[in-house]
């Protein structure tokens, strides 16, 4: 958008489409005619009809919308961004996070922090990992930037808790080992696109 367009503050004369609402009556006689016409046509009762119809539908035709929330839950979309989950490697059960710190860097709410160290196996070990859910805005950048598909958004959206710390630690977000087989890949932000194979060039290997 060019600067000229910004500077044109003549609001209302730009690209608005006017709806064809007809003319409002100008004269007293016109207004009277309009009232009379509307009264005779019983326009008001259309409104009553609609609400009554909806009531009948709700009560007798099983079209009630209400979900009794704490007792019933609607399925959420697979790409929904709720409390984070940390995934494990299916083969070894080891957590996927390599401690690269990209999520920490990209986090615009600055709510992720991690402690890493050099472990006995000469690998980078994440010794502690926290997300401050009091600050998290669930934007999904961390999941998008994660090179290992390790941090993803889960479906747990009930954030009420006595303490924020209750679900901010690494262990709380990590897939429990005994549920490893039920671990599902996250299709949302940061996931591998279905045609990813087609997009990459293979590096030659001498083996």
């Amino acid at each position: 958008m060019s600067l000229e367009q910004f500077k044109d503050r003549n609001v209302g004369t730009q690209n608005y489409t006017m709806l064809d609402l007809g003319e409002s009556p100008k004269t007293g006689w016109g207004k009277f005619k309009q009232v009379a016409k509307r009264s005779v046509k019983l326009e008001l009762f259309t409104g009553l009809k609609v609400t009554f119809r909806e009531m009948i539908k709700a009560l007798f035709m099983g079209e009630m919308h209400t979900t009794k929330y704490p007792f019933e839950k609607l399925p959420i979309a697979p790409r929904y961004r709720a409390i984070h989950e940390m995934k494990r490697l299916l083969e070894s059960g080891h957590y996927r996070c390599i401690g690269c710190g990209l999520c920490e860097k990209i986090c615009i709410a600055d709510c992720i922090r991690m402690d890493t160290r050099y472990d006995e196996n000469q690998r980078k070990e994440v010794s502690e990992y926290t997300i401050n859910f009091g600050r998290c805005i669930f934007c999904g950048y961390c999941a998008e930037v994660c090179p290992e598909l390790a941090i993803v958004h889960g479906g747990r959206y009930e954030n009420a808790s006595e303490q924020r710390a209750s679900f901010a630690l690494f262990e709380d977000m990590l897939t429990p080992l005994d549920q490893l087989t039920q671990q599902k890949e996250y299709p949302g932000f940061g996931a591998v696109s279905p045609d990813a194979d087609k997009k990459i060039k293979k590096t030659p290997l001498a083996y």
């Binding site: 401690g99 690269c100 160290r117 050099y118 000469q122 980078k124 590096t203 030659p204």
Partner: protein, 820 residues
């Protein structure tokens, strides 16, 4: 050795540079980018990466080792060169682990940068990988060979700058390249790969561990994550760290460095220093600077009761005792305390140096020594060191000495009573003269004798020096070609012929030579010395003298100061002194010190009746040097700023001064008032610049202005023949220890112990009591593989052990060593 200024054109940009400068350096100095991985600005070209290819006057050359010539036209990138560079980067990426995510260099990795810069998006080459193991080379060095690209920067810097020569390339055991590549690949890339595939970095002593000074400069120069500090491995990512430019306060080098801070951990949100970085193209750090960073005074709050007591203590104090590790501003505050309240200022570390400097100023007519170590490093090609334990006293003096040998193809003479096995390895033309303690005057006279323009010397000196020369004769064996006539019979013709032949023959011959008694008295064979000296002097143009701490506390210090002035004047030598401790030069210039403490003493980081301490063990807490801002005076005669890297919640000296009615609003308000009559300038702290320009020019702070006076004409005394004999202890710290603060750092392990050569250490056993005149110390014995001879070294880095009190002014003392 000033070189001719020339002009070259790089990519059409006119660049001023000096003759003989490498094209790459000229480009860097002028802010033109030529990719280069293996080249370090102050070191010799390695030619490992070959990526700095350019076209100079139409020819392809490596800009890191092609010298600039007047009017040269340089093109930094052509299509072919780009192709070559790209191929080289592809080769570097072959089998390089794709673990950027966890790599410690991630984000500041030159491999990443150049791979992106040269747009490598596809790999054409492949080779089977070799198992390369991760190794810990020493207590601080961590080498991940898998990540190494064998650019050899570490090897180069260790050799050319540090002088430890602790690293070399070793065999990798990788498989050979596919022959087909030779035809298909760009030439340079193939050659580079061929070399890369064969080598890896290993410690040069053939073991798994390096035996070096653990300075960590190799970790700093490593372009990838291969060489890192053990403590830092996988602790934090570079981009999280906040860089705080500061000045290292451990020794008088006052090196520029960056403290890199971050919150300590998830549980502890306090800022903590994670590591130290330096501008390695322009300045090398030592182990104390790089690893001795966590000496801050933690968790200090304002203790009002202690503060009130401190004010009382200062009110009744007769003496304030303080160390050299103090900022100029604090020194000025103490001086103001002296002026206003008449307290005595005592600083055993600085006092001898101050006296010596004053005596030198009197003799030379200039308040400061004429040269500095930066200049020596750059210009000198013959350097003489007197009275400095080069390896231990000051890293930068040592780097300068080493760099002169390596980079300037220079020579050096090292006068010192304690034998050292490292200094001779700095270069082929290094002569070590191990004289007896006390003979420093003779050493300086020898320097005068060897280098002085005899015509300009005062008569008495000329005569005195002539007295050391005797013409003697000696027998030399000489090869002489002797002509002999042989009669050879021709077998066919039976004719006899006379054939002339030359045959070598050894002939003993009496020759006259100039026998130098001075050299002899210093314990060298005068004949061999004069021969090697002759070789050393070949093609040498600029000479330098490094003066060390031994001279300052020497009984004949006044005469020595005069001699130094004479050497500087008559030998035309660049002369620089090593201030004994951190800010010794600043304290020497700012404070009026006295020799002896008396009465009620307030100790600032020093023993005393009331102790102000940044070590957390005193009566009132003070900020450590990484928690305060201020200026330091370096041995290069610059006043440089330092910044607070960490928070400090307690009182500082300025608060005490305020309580006494002498303070200013901020500590840095004192910067403006540093004494101009001593060479300081009235520049506000916030106006001081920090850092280096592209061509390496130091723009930190400002240079002290030498104050000129009238040179005194007092004659130099003859060398006294007092020497120390018997069991001798030398006050000298291990390589990475300078003071209580380095000792506090968790990555510096050198103990407070008796250091001795391996032979001596074996003789002494495990633990000894060293008995001085005034007391004794019980110390463990540690063998220092690089020491030689009988003299043992006693460290002084712990103030509360009062080593200065035991030794007195001199660094040498007669002791009795008893086994315990």
């Amino acid at each position: 050795m000033s070189k001719k200024e020339i002009t070259i054109r790089i990519d059409g940009v006119e660049c001023r540079t000096t003759e003989g400068e490498y094209i790459l350096n000229a480009a860097r100095a002028n802010g033109i980018f030529i990719p280069a991985i293996c080249y370090l600005t102050r070191c010799s070209p390695t030619l490992a990466c070959r990526i700095c290819l350019v076209e100079a006057d139409g020819k392809r050359v490596y800009s890191c080792n092609a010298k600039a010539k007047e009017g040269m036209e340089v093109v930094t990138s052509t299509e072919e060169i780009l192709e070559e560079r790209r191929a080289i980067m592809e080769v570097y990426d072959v089998n390089h682990p794709l673990q950027c995510g966890v790599c410690d260099q991630h984000g500041e990795c030159e491999l990443q940068n150049y791979t992106l810069e040269l747009a490598v998006d596809f790999q054409h080459y492949a080779i089977a990988d070799t198992m390369r193991e991760v190794k810990d080379w020493s207590t601080v060095l961590h080498y991940d060979a898998g990540l190494c690209i064998v650019c050899e920067r570490c090897v180069t810097v260790c050799k050319d700058m540090i002088g430890d020569n602790a690293l070399k390339t070793g065999p990798r055991g990788g498989s050979a390249l596919d022959k087909a590549y030779k035809e298909t690949m760009p030439k340079d890339a193939y050659a580079m790969w061929n070399k890369l595939q064969k080598s890896i970095i290993v410690p040069s002593n053939g073991t798994e561990h390096t035996n070096c000074s653990d300075c960590g400069e190799c970790t700093a120069v490593c372009p990838v994550g291969a060489l890192t500090e053990r403590d830092f491995v996988y602790k934090a990512n570079p981009w999280e760290l906040k860089e705080i430019p500061a000045t290292c306060a451990h020794c008088s080098s006052g090196c520029h460095l960056y403290y890199e801070t971050r919150f300590a951990s998830i549980d502890n949100h306090e800022e903590m220093i994670f590591r130290v970085k330096n501008e390695w193209n322009f300045q090398s750090l030592c182990g104390a600077g790089r690893f001795g960073y966590d000496f801050e005074n933690r968790d200090v709050t304002k203790d009002e009761a202690a503060f009130a007591k401190a004010v009382e203590a200062l009110k009744k104090a007769e003496t304030v005792r303080f160390p050299a590790m103090i900022s100029n501003e604090e020194a000025l505050m103490l001086q103001r305390l002296k002026e206003e309240r008449g307290v005595k200022l005592v600083n055993p570390e600085v006092r001898p140096f101050q006296r010596f400097l004053q005596a030198y100023a009197k003799a030379s007519g200039r308040s400061l020594y004429g040269s500095d170590f930066k200049e020596i490093m750059k210009e000198a090609d013959f350097v003489v060191s007197v009275g400095a334990a080069l390896r231990n006293d000051n890293p930068n003096a040592r780097y300068a000495f080493n760099s002169v040998q390596k980079m300037n193809k220079g020579a050096g003479i090292y006068f010192h009573p304690v034998g050292d096995t490292l200094v001779p390895t700095f270069g082929k033309s290094v002569e070590c003269i191990t004289h007896k303690p006390g003979q420093e005057e003779s050493a300086l006279y020898l320097v005068l004798d060897l280098f002085a323009d005899k015509e300009s010397l005062p008569d008495y000196l000329r005569e005195y020096l002539a007295g050391f020369h005797e013409t003697r004769t000696r027998t030399v064996k000489e090869k002489v070609m002797k002509e002999i006539v042989e009669v050879v019979k021709d077998e066919e013709s039976g004719e006899e012929k006379e054939v002339k032949k030359k045959v070598p023959e050894m002939v003993e011959k009496e020759v006259e030579y100039d026998h130098n008694l001075l050299a002899e008295s210093l314990g060298v064979d005068p004949v061999a010395f004069s021969e090697s000296f002759e070789k050393m002097m070949k093609k040498k143009e600029s000479f330098a003298l490094i003066v060390g701490e031994d001279l300052y506390g020497h009984p004949q210090w006044e005469n020595l100061a005069r001699l130094v002035a004479l050497v500087e004047k008559h030998c035309g030598m660049m002369t620089a002194m090593i201030p004994p401790k951190s800010n010794a030069l600043g304290v020497a210039l700012i404070c009026e010190l006295v020799d002896e403490a008396s009465g009620y003493t307030v100790g600032y980081n020093q023993p005393g009746d009331f102790r102000l301490s940044a070590l957390g063990d005193g009566d009132l807490d003070m900020p450590a040097m990484n928690q305060q801002e201020g200026t330091m005076t370096t041995m290069d005669k610059r006043v440089v700023p330092t910044n607070a890297a960490l928070e400090y919640g307690g009182y500082e000296l300025n608060d005490l001064m305020n309580a006494l009615g002498l303070g200013k609003r901020l500590t840095i308000d004192w910067t403006l008032e540093l004494p101009a009559e001593k060479g300081f300038q009235a520049v506000a702290f916030d106006d001081l610049k920090d850092g280096f320009l592209n061509d390496g020019t130091e723009i930190r702070g400002y240079a002290l202005t030498p104050i000129k006076g009238r040179a005194s004409t007092a004659k130099a005394k003859e060398a006294s023949d007092e020497v120390l004999e018997g069991e001798i202890a030398y006050r000298c710290n291990p390589q990475r220890q300078f003071n209580d603060f380095t000792d506090r750092a968790h990555q510096i392990f050198e103990a407070f112990a008796l250091y001795a050569s391996p032979a001596k250490a074996e003789e002494l056993g495990e633990k000894v009591e060293v008995v001085f005149e005034k007391g004794s110390l019980t110390l463990e014995v540690v063998a220092d593989e690089r020491m030689e001879g009988e003299i043992v070294a006693v460290p002084d880095f712990k103030a509360d052990r009062d080593v200065y009190g035991l030794f007195g002014e001199s660094r040498y003392a007669n002791v009795t060593i008893k086994k315990v």
